[in-house]
Symmetry: C2
């Protein structure tokens, strides 16, 4: 076990607006938006999409679309009118997208990426790549900030629980420490939830929002652990699949 | 049980800077700063202090002191140099203060009061008055926002747990509903912690901070439930004891 002073830091931040309170000496930022942006991004790159350009406004998306890009846009859980698709992970499994560039804007997730992008290495996390990503983070031996996208700057349960899961795995190695109560709380919430995410998250406000939109299949997909061995990483404003052997 | 549409709302907000995201249609705001401002305020009014004037800057405190007011000031857990005392609840039990006006500024709690004061009825909560306050809130049958003071705009564990305890008691009556994940999370954290606050909060960042200051006696006092049947209420910028019979 490394001496306390040699351990790396892992912390959880609940929403992009809080990022400036935490942003201090972190080498890697993990952006989380379980329902559904980061689950879709991870799935899409795993299924062969060449790269995903995350952007933070519908206006920019309109621009990209007019230039001929395949463009996905979601606001408030629905596909924005006039766009090819939104942030359903199933849309990102489409074989027609293999080898292509996709532009994506979502309500919360792409905003979180925007906030983090100039600061550190940015990677994408979700429940689908939980263990795979966590093992990679442990191997990097660097300070990690887990940035939950939340819902319109409020915390949300599913992102906090996913962030708490990553923090818990890192802290259990004793190679990491945390000093923030947000991290301790996220870890406790994950531990309360881990035996049955789907049932635990029945209470979540966002899931209720999505239930109204009748996308239970997406929700179930996004709440399933360790199905996608892929880590999206931001390089020059584009998310690409991290090739672990060359990382 | 009231019909869903007739139930009142209870929500938890984790820090004063998030207050504008939540501030919508709440009749009562409960300000929480367990370690130690709201525990000290509640104790002081219960022990006979006539009124406490909460202010949000040391500069204003200097002004009040120069005018002859008994003035308490705490920053970062310590009494500010030149002031009579800080926010130790034991200092607020002093018999010399009975019938007197006390001016108070603290790192987080008085800032939270300042943020909330123009919006709604403001009352003070802590673990010491948990059940007494919760029963009063239930009797009011109004929408309640529980505002945790946090630590310098970050969430903290002890305020979140206290807020979650109040929310849990109100929700259990089925006379209240909540829609926010922050409320659900606070409730789960309280339920994880309730069998042993002191041990659960061993992990808390602020308690670690206070341990360094050697005020374990204060911490133990503040983490003890239902010792003080008193609800401080803000009236014309001054906190006074709510007289329940006349309320």
């Amino acid at each position: 076990m490394p001496a306390l002073s040699e351990r790396k830091i892992v912390e959880v931040c609940y929403a992009p607006s809080h990022f400036p309170l935490y942003d201090n000496g972190f080498d890697i930022v993990v952006v989380i938006d379980v329902l559904r942006a980061t689950s879709a991004i991870t799935t899409g790159l795993h299924c062969g999409i060449k790269e995903i350009i995350p952007i933070n406004s519908v206006e920019k998306a309109v621009d990209y679309k007019s230039k001929g890009y395949i463009t996905a846009a979601e606001r408030d859980g629905q596909v924005v009118e006039g766009f090819d698709f939104g942030n359903s992970p199933y849309a990102f499994m489409n074989p027609d997208l293999v080898g292509k560039t996709v532009v994506l804007t979502t309500t919360n997730g792409t905003n979180a990426i925007e906030v983090a992008k100039d600061k550190s290495t940015v990677v994408i996390g979700c429940l689908n790549n939980l263990t795979y990503l966590s093992n990679w983070l442990i191997a990097q031996n660097k300070n990690v900030l887990i940035l939950a996208s939340g819902w319109k700057e409020k915390m949300n349960l599913e992102d906090t629980i996913c962030a708490g899961a990553i923090a818990d795995i890192l802290l259990e190695t004793r190679k990491f420490v945390s000093n923030e109560d947000s991290t301790i709380s996220a870890k406790f919430l994950y531990r309360s939830a881990r035996d049955n995410f789907y049932s635990f998250l029945r209470a979540s406000s966002h899931r209720k929002r999505l239930m109204k939109l009748k996308i239970q299949k997406d929700v179930k997909y996004c709440l399933t652990l360790d199905t996608v061995p892929c880590i999206p990483i931001l390089r020059d404003g584009r998310l690409v699949k991290l090739e672990i052997d060359n990382a």
